[in-house]
Amino acid sequence: MRVVVCLKQVIDPLTPATALVLDASAKKIRGGAANPPVINGFDEQGIEAALRLRETNEDVEIVCVAVGERFNNDVMKRSLAVGADQLILVQDPSLDTWNAYPIAATLAAVIRQIGGADLVICGRQGSDWDNGLTPFILAEQLGMPLLTLAKRVSITGETRIEIERALADGSMTMDAALPAVVTVTSELGALRMPSVSARLTAARKQPRQIALAELDVAATPSPAPEVVDLTIPVTSRICTFIEAADGPGAGARLAEILLQTGAVRLGGER
């Protein structure tokens, strides 16, 4: 049984804000060379879900697929270190896009090219833009049912999938025939740590690269949504030293300034 896990490379959410650069003309945010990217955290949980499936079903083959502009191999190879059998990368400048459609279509084309999948696992959304659209389009493209927000995934009787779905106050169990697409959520738990020897072995393995041109990608329907502008809130600080003879005087003066500048309002004007 083949399980495909879709991976996205994103800016490390822990990157300090001061290190992020907003490229307004390209409408992109960049993390800089000093801050390596990570595999989207929800996608890492997708790998964990696949690894758990393999613990109960020996014949599970895990193939990780990532499409994007350019990858940091050391980062993506963590998937191999934890136990994925194969890592496939499709790198192309056109895949540096905000639009989920060509991404999903390329993922679908890879899955078709490698002979299909019994189960496709995606993270619930990318931690960079939080769109969460790719799995929906992917399921549509592959003609598979979509089960979302799984915190537990299991295969029943070889041919069916059962998930426990995370709800705000409870859970829901769903079932579908394979092949299917599943999205996983953080309740599933973090990706396990690879052993040192597995990391060393993974360091020697290389991902399989497929050129975009080799794939039969469905055309993106127009009109597609477009990012018009990206801005970050502008903050500024002004510092004022309060001159006063003593503490109470300074307090009174502070209150006065806060009122004058409108930082604080009294009465009913909220």
Binding site: D12, T15, V75, V196, R199, R237, I238
Partner: protein, 560 residues
């Protein structure tokens, strides 16, 4: 409403020190003693930079998040400002470095010099200790034991004095030998010209034959000199590391933790009217007609002074603070290429109920209570060829070499009664090699592996014995210390091509800058990273010479 600082421009200072780190707290005292009105501007809320302590890893315990091993009693400022009177007190255990190997064998180094006056740190030779160290080494190699005796003689006769002078003297110009290079010309000094260019591994193999001392030397070098086995360590680190590995120098424990150094210096500075302004991050150096005339603060406002000293690294000083003052393409190119990929450590304390009980103590009584104790495999081949490789690939070595420092044995202010706290260290990779998320994971993994490893040597180090741990890595260091680029302790790699007259690169190694009235004093310059090193002392001498201030070193009767 007046924007900040403009009003402060009236408060007149003769000198502004940018950054309130370790070297700022030293140089401000010297400048103030020369009669200048000095302001120290620190961006954070605390002074001291890398010389601080905190309550960690549990309430009632005291930990040094950055510098831990210090010998500030050896710095001229200790006497010049009566720091002992200001509360800076050292305790001197009679052993220094030890190592326990995987096979249960071990080595204890007894201090070749003994402190006879704890007030000044004055030492005398300790022949009984030399004999004991000799016997320790003899148990695994007669040749190395003989080398030890010869090296101790050479250390006494030549190395120690030259090392001290080198540390507190500006680098000499190219072709003019400095105090250490001069030893190459003395036939029986034990230092030959080739040693200037030997890698750590070559030095280890050249001076010793035993796997014990080779392993210890290669492991101790990154801790004391910041170099990995394939780096050319340079004479400065060779002499320093040898003095520690063979325990020629006594160990020193600072009472109250490293913070005591900063506290004493600041106390001394306040008596000399130094003004310490925290929360004053500097954003730019104001330059007029090619001369520094003050600084612009990040929160707005400016302050003026006819003398500006930067305790920041060369990159921050030039790429940020002088961003509007072009210094030329060649210089900029060199600033951007300063090498920082050395000296990254996992570093922190483990608080515990009882001290580790090492099984090796049955064979070699007393091993385990050395102020610096290493554990690991007796495997110089691994150290020489794979230690760094693993670290850069995985974030930690496959064969751990943990350093522990049980200071609370001697300094009871570090832990509550009946409990202890021990510093642990091993080396790791430059911050940029892993994402913030991965650093979180690797740090957790390192901590678990270190504790597991510890149990191999001291079976009582079980989870039940541990009260808490707090470990920092390069990612944490870099986040709080903009000049410790890549999160290493060295503030710029300390291999031969970035030491002495080449630190951080030849054109900017002289403490003066292309901007008039602007000087530098940080560990990014000679004599490099570490508490009590000479950069700020040398900068103070250069400023005094340039400005005709009193020659304080001469009045103290010091050659340097």
């Amino acid at each position: 409403m007046q924007p900040t600082g403009e009003n402060m421009a009236d408060a007149s200072y003769d000198a502004i020190v940018i950054g309130g780190g370790h070297h700022a707290t030293i140089i401000s005292c010297y400048l103030a003693k020369a009669g200048l009105k000095v302001a120290v501007l620190e961006g954070h809320t605390a002074l001291g930079g890398g010389a601080v302590s905190e309550e960690a890893p549990a309430p009632g315990f005291r930990q040094n998040p950055h510098a831990h091993f210090t010998r500030f009693y050896g710095h001229p400022a200790y006497a010049d400002f009566n720091l002992r009177e200001e509360g800076l007190e050292y305790i001197f255990p009679e052993q220094n470095e030890g190592m326990i190997f995987e096979d249960g064998s071990s080595f204890i180094g007894y201090s070749g010099y003994r402190v006879v006056d704890p007030k000044t740190g004055r030492t005398e030779e300790a022949p009984d200790n030399v004999r004991k160290t000799y016997d320790q080494i003899k148990s695994f190699s007669q040749r190395d034991a003989d080398s030890y005796l010869r090296l101790f003689e050479q250390y006494q006769k030549y190395w120690k004095k030259a090392f001290h002078k080198h540390r507190f003297t500006a680098p000499t110009p190219w072709r003019e030998p400095d105090a250490l290079e001069a030893l190459c010309d003395i036939p029986d000094s034990g230092i030959e010209p080739v040693h200037q260019f030997m890698s750590v591994r070559q030095c280890a193999y050249d001076y010793f034959e035993s796997p014990e001392l080779r392993t210890l030397f290669m492991r101790a070098t990154p801790t004391s000199g910041g170099c990995f086995p394939d780096d050319a360590m340079g004479l400065q680190s060779l002499v320093h590391v040898m003095g520690l590995v063979l325990s020629f120098e006594p160990a020193a424990i600072v009472k109250g933790g490293t913070q005591s150094i900063t506290d004493a210096l600041v106390k001394a500075g306040k008596k000399l009217d130094v003004e310490y302004l925290t929360g004053h991050e500097v954003d730019q150096i104001i330059v007029e007609n090619g001369a520094a005339i003050g600084v612009q603060l990040a929160r707005g406002g400016s302050m003026r002074a006819p003398l500006v000293v930067s305790d920041l690294g060369v990159p921050q000083t030039f790429l940020r603070l002088l961003r509007n003052h072009p210094i030329g393409d060649k210089l900029l190119h060199r600033v951007r290429n300063i090498h920082y990929d050395r000296g990254q450590i996992f570093w922190g304390n483990v608080a515990m109920h009882e001290l580790p009980k090492y099984t090796a103590d049955n064979v070699n009584p007393g091993v385990g209570s050395q102020p610096r104790l290493y554990t690991g495999a007796k495997d110089p081949e691994y150290m020489a060829s794979r230690y760094q490789h693993d670290i850069f690939l995985l974030g930690f070595p496959q064969q751990p070499y943990i350093l522990t420092a049980p200071d609370s044995i001697w300094d009871r202010t570090r832990a509550p009664d009946g409990q202890h706290t021990i510093l642990i260290e091993d080396f790791t990779a430059p911050a940029r090699l892993f994402s913030g998320r991965d650093w979180g994971r690797i740090k957790e993994e390192f901590t678990n592996r270190a504790l597991e490893e510890w149990r191999k040597y001291a079976p009582n180090m079980t989870k039940d014995n541990i009260i808490g741990t707090r470990i920092y890595g390069p990612y944490d260091v870099q986040a709080g210390k903009p000049d410790m680029i890549e999160g290493g302790w060295t503030e710029g790699s300390m291999f031969a091509s970035q030491l002495g007259r080449f630190r951080p690169f030849p054109e900017l190694s002289g403490f003066r800058t292309p901007v008039k009235n602007l000087y530098m004093c940080s560990s990014n310059l000679h004599s490099a990273g570490g508490i009590g090193r000479g950069s700020s002392y040398i900068a103070a001498k250069i400023i005094s010479q340039d400005r005709g201030l009193p020659r304080f070193w001469e009045s103290a009767g010091r050659e340097f």
